[in-house]
Symmetry: C2
Subunit: 655 residues, 2 copies
């Protein structure tokens, strides 16, 4: 540690109470460190047991420190005694204003300033650069910083948050907004103490810099995670949705994160709804891998314009594929012109190039410079070869601002991130402060809930609330058959389960039988008589309050299968109709909504309006805990809400 | 090329008709090469235009060559003229017996023999080692060989098949069975000319060596693929299922392939139904990534035995998590003992270790040697750090036989492959030559089809085939209600669509109404009256003939959603009941079959028997083109076939 901090010019207290070594600047206490310091102390690095940390922190304040780092564990994650130590440390921080990183972190580093507050020897060798790492875990902070470096990047700042008693990820993200050294940010999240705060910080940061986020907790690792951070795991799905909505590019593992940042720290695509990718490959096989992966990622690889193809046919031998992918065969001196032709095509927003290292056929670094691509159509390169040769060429490409990788998969990860970033920036407008209409008082039965949906602009079937069998018969006459006949009772949430629903009722006799059956099964005397909706595809749309992030909306397909798959898309409320329109495209079963077997096709904007309206109910009315339309049926005439439930907290509902 | 072949001791004809350079051994024709050769020619490398290849190949035979390589494209992938060139080349090969690689390949290399028949300069530097690469594409052959080398492996043989006019992937796989240099095999497939042949070769090879397969074509890349190889793309799903069933480990991209082979070429787990993974980590964060990924991959990380935990508590500081994952904190001299304790636990079949490179705290190479793990409980290491330091340690680990990686994801890919390989080898027995009973003659209606299913041992509901309404009424009396009443007509495949199905019929009056309705709708006078099955979860099980692989069985969940997802599992027929029992676990919707919401639970072995029986129908009866049970209902009493269709070729059916 003492070695690690040698580049730092501020006043420093290095405290290791168990193994002090004053010769190398490691003192037994803050006071001792202060006595030996020639300058005013600025930062205290405290390697002392949990029980001694609060006092050591107070000493640091007394000695003039404005910041401190606590390495030890044994706080909130370690039961009651640990919690007491944590509370004591927090109290000192709150009362004195000293900024505290940790406890339970292996530190941080700022290579630009020669400041490396870390035990791990390699941390001192990290090159200064543009990527900041904000990690829940100290170990991940180091692992990511090393891998980013191995991939040809430098680090502006690396922080392991640890227990986050004072400084949290949100604090660091806010700091990075104005940090001139940082051009792109890696974010690693295990748990989120304050969802709205994190989202606010991310929104501000992603307005000015790309952020790539890795969220832990796809499977149930809560027990181990808690032993590590003391925090309850947040929902993986909701956290991913929240950070994506706040503008981050979300990845699945740390290699993808490195690939994404190697690209995004150097280039970005122009904002577009569906950016087009041109694939130029010197070898057909790797080009096919890139095309296959682009297809799986739903990245457009549009056929090149006739003029582009004509130009390519002058440049390339016959028989090679020239529509996109463009298979150049072994690259020769025409390679820059080929790249230029593809990048110049109107449908193309970025070009990915694959080649094996063949110094005697083409120098890719020079070729890319000679190609002189339009500034807003960046190239991404995958250069295969033995590291001895290829690594040096990749470094040269990086020096000219071209992100370079070793494999088609790495380049494909980069492209997926670039495209996600471009699409996100294309989405204009933030969620308007949409005010939902007031709700009627009392418990809402299905009729009242549907009337409210109608006020929100959501279509519901024609219906009559009937207080008697006679009214029900009149309703059948007025509506015409077939109708659905339902128990109308706001206290019964699952009407079907109690025999409260009869469908396809056509005649007065059938209606009598249905009413009698509902009465016999439930004792009810109130009925809803409603026109049957045409067939279609059932969706479920709901909004509720997440304990970490507040109001969220969920979208899924109806039916048991979709439910068993957990196939849902999530957004934070408020949400714009445009943002919500993208949710169905995230469902595994999305093909069902795209005219499956001649069925109806979803209008994403109509759908987005429904979701945005439900979201506004939760943001406008704090007493509403949940609102759900199940099913929301997609018909050839559009969306119709077939059942709806609104749940409010009891006190407010009765107020 | 001439440079590339300098290490080769055989007699060689290097022909480049366009740019001959006799000084460096590049001749304008085979004859010229023969004139300049001091030894008998053995291998001809032909870089001549497609139209000249057949003659050049004949010349090579005349000059004594027993093998040749054709680099050029412009054959079957290039229309009619190209096809004529291909036919001509094939004829020469068939008539003379010369073995031909290509056309349209960048060659092959055998580093152990100093033989590098490739244009790509880096190919000469490939180190000899144990991994063979069999790639559809010459470019991929090189790309994979380079990446395998960069990851610390050597290559025994690398082949790009190209058009595969003579030598195919199956030929090379057969050769590798007895190749003493090869310990593990990478297989890259774009299309499969002869499914059964490939499967036979793979089965033989995977009995003795691990094979890792990457199959292209997840998305629709057929057009570009065809321009490249001239072959029609095979079904991605079926090809993956086939190679997995033949014993290969299937991966999703080329980085996973390299990770898998870096592990499998060094270690294998003992065969087990569900091998247990111990996670030992020096930093909690990366350990959490490993645990999260293991959970997502359905790899067991069992809680360690009480004795193991007791031993660990002696070795490790308090407060660290010791149940599995085992969080060691910064490793010290206890590290080998920790590894030994975890590996010695009965529930553990392999140990994955994560650590950051910290030379002053622990030398992982020595620690792993000191740990002296049981031979059948191998370790996999992920060592984070800057490449300068960490790469050297990974090389040292490789030298001691321990697969080592840079990132948690790479190690997780390796573990997924090791576990897949272990599970596959645990599955004993090959598909018995199960003979399905003879089918009755003529078209099979639902009753006849179900009787046949009953002969296969598959449960069907009690039913009566009725030639009149009176018989139908008697059937209702005998079976008791509720019953399903269906049109009985073998020529009608979609009975529901024509109004031929009435469900839930309970009384003689209801039955009369149903019979009348069916008669009115279809004119039928034959009916099936069948006891209604209890509710449950519907599956679809079918067998048909794939144009590439022959008879295959498919399993999916019933309902539109499952169909829209394309959520099916595939196996080649014949299939053992044990193999088929694994199919439901591959479905995205598998939770529906595991007692979802108090529903029935699938018995995989009962299910496997049904699938194996259907598979046997196709392998026993060449005239059967298709047999399908839709739905096969999972009830609390087990599986019941609710409808069945058997399709035979017309000539055989009428024979």
């Amino acid at each position: 540690m003492s070695r690690s901090l040698t580049g730092f010019t501020g006043g420093l207290a290095l405290v290791n109470s168990r193994n002090p070594d004053p010769e190398s600047g490691l003192h037994a206490s803050v006071r001792e460190a202060a006595e030996h310091s020639s300058t005013r102390l600025d930062l205290a690095v405290l390697c002392v047991p949990a029980a001694a940390c609060a006092d050591a922190l107070a000493d640091a304040v007394a000695a003039g420190c404005r910041a401190a780092l606590i390495c030890a564990g044994g706080f909130g994650e370690a039961g009651e005694a640990g919690q007491a130590h944590e509370d004591a440390v927090r109290r000192v921080a709150e009362e004195t204003g000293i900024r505290l990183l940790g406890p339970n972190t292996s530190g941080f580093f700022v290579p630009h300033r020669g400041l490396t507050a870390s035990f791990v020897p390699g941390a001192r060798q990290l090159p200064a650069g543009g990527v900041a790492v904000v990690a829940a875990s100290g170990g991940i902070n180091h692992a990511l910083s090393f891998e980013l470096t191995n991939a040809g990047n430098g680090v502006s700042l690396g922080v392991g948050i640890g227990a986050g008693v004072d400084v949290t990820a949100a604090d660091v993200l806010e700091y990075l907004v104005d940090d001139p050294q940082t051009t792109a940010v890696a974010l690693h999240l295990e748990s989120v103490p304050d969802g709205p705060r994190l989202v606010r910080a991310l929104r501000r940061l992603t307005e000015v810099k790309p952020v790539v986020a890795l969220v832990v907790g796809r499977s149930d690792v809560a027990e181990f995670a808690q032993s590590h951070t003391g925090a309850l795991a947040t929902s993986w799905r909701t956290t991913r949705a929240a950070v994506a909505q706040a503008g981050a590019v979300v990845v699945d593992d740390e290699r993808e994160l490195v690939d994404a940042l190697t690209a995004l720290s150097r280039v970005r695509l122009r904002p577009a709804a569906d950016p087009g990718l041109g694939i130029v490959t010197a070898q057909a096989g790797p080009g096919l891998l890139l095309a296959d992966r682009a297809g799986a990622d739903e990245i457009a690889t549009p056929e090149l314009a006739a003029e582009t193809q004509a130009r390519l046919s002058e440049l390339l031998p016959p028989l090679t594929f020239q529509r996109n992918p463009v298979d150049t065969g072994r690259p020769d001196k025409s390679f820059p012109a080929v790249l230029g032709a593809v990048a110049g095509d109107d449908a193309i927003d970025s070009v990915v190039v694959y080649a094996l290292t063949e110094p005697d056929s083409v120098d890719l670094v020079t070729a890319l410079q000679d190609a002189d691509l339009p500034a807003d159509v960046p190239a991404v390169v995958a250069l295969g070869g033995l590291d001895d040769e290829a690594a040096e060429q990749r470094i040269q490409l990086h020096k000219t601002g071209v992100p370079a990788f070793a494999t088609p998969t790495a380049a494909a990860n980069a492209l997926r991130a670039l495209v996600a970033d471009s699409r996100r920036r294309f989405r204009t407008g933030t969620a308007a402060e949409r005010q939902a209409p007031a709700l009627p008082g009392g418990l809402l039965d299905e009729h009242a809930a549907k009337n409210y949906l109608a006020e929100l602009g959501i279509r519901t079937p024609p219906r009559r609330a009937c207080a008697s069998r006679e009214e029900a018969q009149r309703a059948l006459t007025e509506l015409g058959g077939p109708v659905a006949v339902k128990l109308l009772d706001a206290t019964v949430l699952h009407k079907t389960d109690v025999g409260g629903v009869h469908l396809g009722v056509r005649t007065p006799d059938e209606l009598d039988a249905a009413l009698e059956a509902i009465h016999a099964a439930t004792g009810a005397t109130g009925y809803l008589v409603e026109s049957m909706a045409p067939g279609g595809v059932d969706l479920v749309v709901g909004a509720h309050r997440d304990p970490v992030f507040g109001p969220v909306v969920l979208v899924g397909l109806g039916g048991t299968a979709a439910e068993a798959l957990g196939d849902v898309a999530v957004r934070l409320a408020p949400v714009t109709a445009n943002e919500a329109a993208e949710m169905p495209g995230e469902l595994l079963g999305k093909e069902l909504l795209r005219g499956w077997r001649g069925g109806p096709e979803l209008n994403p904007h109509e759908f987005g309006e429904v979701v945005a309206a439900l979201a506004a109910v939760l943001t406008s009315h704090p007493e509403v805990t949940e609102i759900e339309i199940n099913p929301l049926r997609l018909t050839t005439d559009g969306l119709v809400a077939l059942d709806a439930v609104v749940v409010r907290t009891e006190e407010d509902r009765n107020a």
